[in-house]
Structure formats: structure tokens, C-alpha cells
Symmetry: C2
Subunit: 402 residues, 2 copies
């Protein structure tokens, strides 16, 4: 299958290119290297020493015996998007070319506007270009479980049938996102749904949980093909940051009580799920939504879990909650479905402890690169619009939660 990856230089994008090529697909992609720039802007850097795209492509060819076709350019430039799709002739397009950070979008008006316009315009351009060039292609668009927020009812996969005042209908499940970024993904989901109805495109919208991990594949061996790994407050997601903190002896820092529940999945599971999705495209005109995560955890539980696994390899680290910079419920009901991917054959990586141990060991080897990023662990981008470093909270997390 010809798979085009928009945002191929990113954490998921580069992983997916490698994962899919070793499963027999032809890979092409585009990127403008904005992720590298954003991470640098907020004072971070990839802990893994990622190579330039030229070096990545050379290693890719050497290892996989196949080129990754690549064009540098902006997905917000429609002419570019139409050209790359025309040249590559994809059977499927995986859209990973968006700003993926809630805190980044909350910095100020410029970052909010940039996040929403970049994400909305790149997605609109892809939709119009698919219609013009390859209307039969399958669009796999990455959304986020964060689109749903934390309603007091179970979360279905995209749609639900309800009765209201004695009548029934199947409707899009209401979204209650918690950042300008998360709302940008809601806007995108709406636009993709509309394009499928309007033009008969086919799309799978992935409401993905929080991804963690250093490895996209057990077989991953060549260091030149490693994907990026961020630990800063904007682009470092929670488990990745906890593991990095553990390795340098920085306290693990859940926000507030840590009672926030989210769906999580290892990077490798994300790759496995996307591969399953690509292998079972929807019908023309079908817009389907998959909730993509392995399991729901609370942030506090994850901190204790990382703490315990770290201790098992002689890394002793405290859990010290910090003042929550976000506006979010810290205690809430949370029961999202994730049946669609199971129906396609997805089986979650059973052993979270093993995955965490591999991450910690990978990061231990990278400790010299990790030490200078310590300063980027503690959040100062606040949802109230101010910029103030979160303090440690007085109360330690009780060990009984473990």
C-alpha cells in the first residue's frame, strides 16, 4: 500500500514510517520541521539524538532497502499539498502534521491562533487535495481522547444513539475539550466528518490516548532511525516525562491530586493500531471514529507505577505533586469505549512494567543528554493565561494509592 504520512518527521510520524515499511508498504511523507522548532522554542530538545532528514533517509534506505519519499513543505500551502499527493498517489494518508500540544496552545493569543489555524488549515487542505487527487484514498486523521473531555456518562466512539423527549437519533458525541489545542482537534474532526458526508471521502478519526515510549518496534535496533523523545512541559507527555524525571533523580510531578484519568498506550501499540486501521479502510463516504488507547490510568497511579519500576532498577525517586497549571477536573467519572480496535484484532501490550523498564533503561543511556533538560520539567504555562512556575504541593501522594 502507498502510505503518505503528513508530519513524517515527528514522534509518531517517523515511527510509523519505519513500522510500516518493514511491513511491506511504500512510504512517502512531508514535513516542515516545525516540531523541531517548537520544542526548541520552549527550551526543550529531543532526548534521543535524532538525525537530519537527509541522514534519516539514508539510514532508512540502508536498513529497509527502500526509500522514504519526502518533500519538505507546509501543509497550510494548498498547492504544496495537492502536488505531493499527486506525485505520491497514496492509497492512504495519515495526518500527523498538526501542533500536538495543549500547553503550547495556551501560551498566549499568538500560540492559540497559530495552533488552531495550523491544524484547521492543514486538515482542510488535505481534505480538498484528497478530493481533487485521490478521492478513493483513506484518510487516517489523528484526533485525541482529549476532545471528549470528562463527561459524567460513558464515552462512545464518536457517535451515540440517544432518546430525547421521546424521539431517537444517532448523533456525534458532544465534545468538551480543555485547551485551544484540543479544540483545534475538535474543529478538525467536524471538518473531516463533513467532507466524508459531502464528497464521499473515507476517513478514520483516531481519538488517541496519551502515547508513551522510546521504541516504536521491538525490532528497532539502528540508532540512526530512533524517533524523537520530548520531556518538556509542552511536548513531553506525562509518562515520558515521569521516566525522564526518574532517570535524573528529579521528583515525579503529577499535577494536583493526580486523580485525572486518561487513556494511555505505548508507542508500539499506537503503531500496531494505525497498521490495523490502514488494513481495514472504511467504505466510501464513511466517517468512523476509533478510540485508541490500551488502558485508563490515573496520573497519580502512573507516578507510583513509574516510581516502583524505577526502584526495581535502583533508581530511587520521590513523587511530589505540583500545583496544577491546568483548568481540569482532578476527580471525575471516566469510562470511554475502545472496542472498535479490539474488533480489528488489537491486543494491548500486556506488560506496562516491562515497557516502563525499557524506557528507563533507554533513558539511562541518554542521561548526558537528559541532564540539561531538567529545567524544562516543571510547568509554568498556566491555563489562566499567566506564566508562573508551579510550586510543589505540601501534601505528598499517599503510598496507599499504589
Amino acid at each position: 500500500m502507498n502510505v503518505f504520512i503528513a508530519g513524517i518527521d515527528g514522534y509518531l510520524g517517523w515511527s510509523l514510517a519505519n513500522y510500516l515499511v518493514s511491513r511491506g508498504h511504500r512510504i512517502g511523507g512531508a514535513d516542515k520541521f516545525l516540531r523541531r522548532a517548537w520544542v526548541a522554542e520552549v527550551g526543550g530538545d529531543s532526548v534521543t539524538p535524532i538525525r537530519s532528514m537527509a541522514d534519516r533517509r539514508a539510514a532508512f534506505r540502508e536498513v529497509h532497502g527502500q526509500d522514504v519519499e519526502f518533500l519538505e513543505g507546509d501543509l497550510c500551502d494548498y498547492a504544496f499539498v495537492e502536488r505531493v499527493l499527486r506525485e505520491f498517489a497514496p492509497d492512504a494518508i495519515v495526518h500527523l502534521g498538526e501542533v500536538p500540544s495543549a500547553p503550547y496552545s495556551m501560551i498566549d493569543v499568538d500560540h492559540a491562533v497559530f495552533t488552531q489555524t495550523n491544524n484547521v488549515v492543514s486538515t482542510l487542505n488535505l481534505l480538498f487535495a484528497i478530493r481533487a487527487v485521490c478521492p478513493d484514498a483513506h484518510l487516517v486523521k489523528l484526533g485525541t481522547m482529549g476532545e471528549y473531555g470528562t463527561p459524567n456518562i460513558p464515552i462512545p466512539e464518536g457517535f451515540f444513539e440517544i432518546e430525547y423527549r421521546g424521539r431517537r437519533d444517532t448523533l456525534p458525541f458532544p465534545r468538551q475539550a480543555g485547551s485551544w489545542y484540543h479544540w483545534s482537534k475538535v474543529h478538525d474532526s467536524s471538518n473531516v466528518m463533513f467532507a466524508c458526508r459531502l464528497w464521499g471521502l473515507r476517513a478514520t478519526d483516531i481519538m488517541q490516548g496519551v502515547v508513551f515510549g522510546t521504541r516504536f518496534d521491538d525490532r528497532q535496533t539502528d540508532e540512526r532511525l530512533v524517533t524523537r523523545f520530548d520531556v518538556d512541559q509542552c511536548f513531553g507527555t506525562v509518562i515520558n516525562r515521569f521516566c525522564a524525571q526518574a532517570v535524573v533523580g528529579h521528583p515525579l510531578t503529577p499535577f494536583g491530586t493526580g486523580g485525572q484519568q486518561r487513556g494511555f498506550l505505548p508507542l508500539q501499540d499506537s503503531m500496531a493500531c494505525l497498521t490495523l486501521v490502514l488494513g481495514a479502510p472504511p467504505e466510501r463516504g464513511e466517517y468512523r471514529v476509533f478510540n485508541q488507547f490500551a488502558e485508563v490510568y490515573s496520573v497519580a497511579d502512573l507516578a507510583l507505577r513509574v516510581q516502583r519500576v524505577a526502584a526495581s532498577i535502583q533508581l530511587d525517586v520521590e513523587v511530589r505533586p505540583v500545583a496544577n497549571p491546568r483548568a481540569e477536573r482532578e476527580q471525575h467519572y471516566y469510562r470511554p469505549d475502545h472496542q472498535h480496535l479490539f474488533d480489528l484484532g488489537y491486543r494491548p501490550t500486556a506488560d506496562l512494567d516491562h515497557t516502563l523498564r525499557v524506557m528507563l533503561q533507554d533513558l539511562q543511556r541518554l542521561r548526558p543528554r537528559l541532564e540539561p533538560l531538567r529545567h524544562a520539567f516543571m510547568p509554568d504555562i498556566r491555563w489562566d493565561g499567566t506564566r508562573r512556575r508551579s510550586a510543589f504541593l505540601a501534601e505528598p501522594t499517599p503510598a496507599s494509592n499504589a
Copy 2:
């Protein structure tokens, strides 16, 4: 009250400025005159001979004995938005500064992207500027009943309490918009809702029906203060277009079967409703949604109604349905609530026939300006992305529907 009108040069904006000033409010506004440019772009023109902003302001001062404070500029420029709010110090901001046309947004990728970015960015800028400058001010943001689409259940006002799998919650009512424009308004509604929750802003989101009419006020007399009146396929809404067609003897052109039901309200009622809304602001942090329309009609019934009223003043005109250029249900359930404005005291203009007669007579006086706009009546912007003039359908609308 200091009322700032974003988009003060438009159909509703200029009407509202005049309506409110004669009710004792201080009026300021901004505009970039884009509506004038868009209408010209699609081959239309205001049937009413609207004046330049300089002449409008001079007449406004003369008639109302008060200035309208005005700054020309782009709401997508944050610095401009913050500056105008700082200078004017509003108690309320009415956001009418958006692209208001579904067909315009459906022309091509450029128009889709422009509509969504213009509307989303202007609203984000207003939200951030209100937070920075006047966080206590009341934002009245114009949405559209079209955000809801045509679900098979009653449409509440923004939110509904539902039971799902044995649990209850009150959630935003799902939106199912039918054009890139309508989705841009959904995106805006989401962003405004989030800002209220996040920063404690106060906002009323008006899901407005289709507005029609030549007059914003019974007292309206000075011709220099007239508001614009469009009849082209993009900016001329359905009743306005029917009346214009009747005056020049062009068949009235419902789309398809004309079974589409929508909420409608006269321009004067829109002004009365917005005035009621401004007089009863929500609490800090409250985001409320009002469905704003007088009555639901089917498009076919409206065509026959206009035909009948026209005949009563010796304008004989056919009703000739045309092929529907849109992708929309032509027969559907439609039961939207509109109680909130009634609770505030809104009483719809009772006599639709009278309003239609006034419109027809106003347009008869403008017939020389109307004749050259005939070519703009028939739609050629199609929802399937092609550009092809709609043909008349063979079947006449049966008179028994009247």
C-alpha cells in the same frame, strides 16, 4: 451602555448601531469593509444605495445627535482588536464581524480556508482582547441555527440533559452543520464556550435563524442610514431574494422540493432580540445559548407566501423550483426551541404579510438598482464542488401547499 459592534458596516451591524443609539446607548465599531468586497466579488451589489462610512457617520450624527465611534481595521489583527477595545471601553461587544455566507465558503479551498480562518481568528482575538481589556464585558456572538443541522430530535438551546447507559449529564447539543461556513460558526461557538469556562468571561451565543427585511426599525426614515440589502446567491438570504425576484418578475426559486424547514425572523425582530439580550447579560463565567427566530417555515411555503403577498400589490410571479445546489435534506423533522428570548420578553412581529409587503414596496422603489442584479439570482455554487448554474425543475410547486 457602551456597545461595541464588530462588523458595524454590515447588514446587521449597521442596523444595530442605529437601533441601539436611538435607545440611549453609546455606539462604537470596527469594520474592514470586507462584506462590500465579497458581494462585489460574486457579482452582487447592495440593492439599497448604502453610503460610505464617512457619509454614514455624518448622517448618523445629524439624525441621532451622537457620533458613532469607528475604526477601520482587521479583526484578525490582534493588536488592532486590543487597541479598539481599550479605546472604546465597551460594556458589551456584539460580534458580527464574520463571513456570513454558506455558498461563499463552498466556492473552493481558498474560500473555505478563508471563511474558517477569518471567523475563528476574529473570534479568538476578541476573546483574548476581552480578557485583557474588559473581562467584565458581555460578548454577544452571532452564531446560526444552521449549526445544529436537522437532527431527528428536538433542538434545545445549546445544551441538553440526557440519560445514556443509565447515567445523566448536561452536555453541549451536538452540531451537524452543512457548509464550511456553518462549521466555522460551530468552531467559534466551541471557542467562546471554552473561554467562558476558562477565564470567567460572560457570553451569549445567538443561534440566529434566517433574517429578512429592508428595515431595522419602524421609525427608520433617513435614506442615508439605510442598511445594505443583498440578493445574490451568496449573501442574499432566501426571503430577501424571493422578494427581489418578485419585484423584477423573475420566478421565485426554492431549491428542490422546498421542504427544507428553517427558523426565520424579520430584521427588526433581530434588532429587538439583540437589544433584549444586551439588557440582560449573563453572569461572569456563564456561556448561554439563545435560539433566535420568530417562526419555522418551509422554503416552499415561504415562496407561496411571497407570491401571494406580491399578487396583492399587483406583482404576479411564478414559483419555479430549481435544482438544489446544496447537499441537504429536503424533507426532515425540525423542532427547535426558542424559549429563552420569549422569557426575556421577545414577541415576534405578528404580521409576516405586512413585513413582506413593506419589503416589496421598498424594493419596487429600488427597481432600477435591482434589474441589473437579476443575473445573480440563480445559484451556480454547488456543494459537490463544481460550478454549474442550477436548472429549473420540471415540476411546478403545487398551489395546494399555500
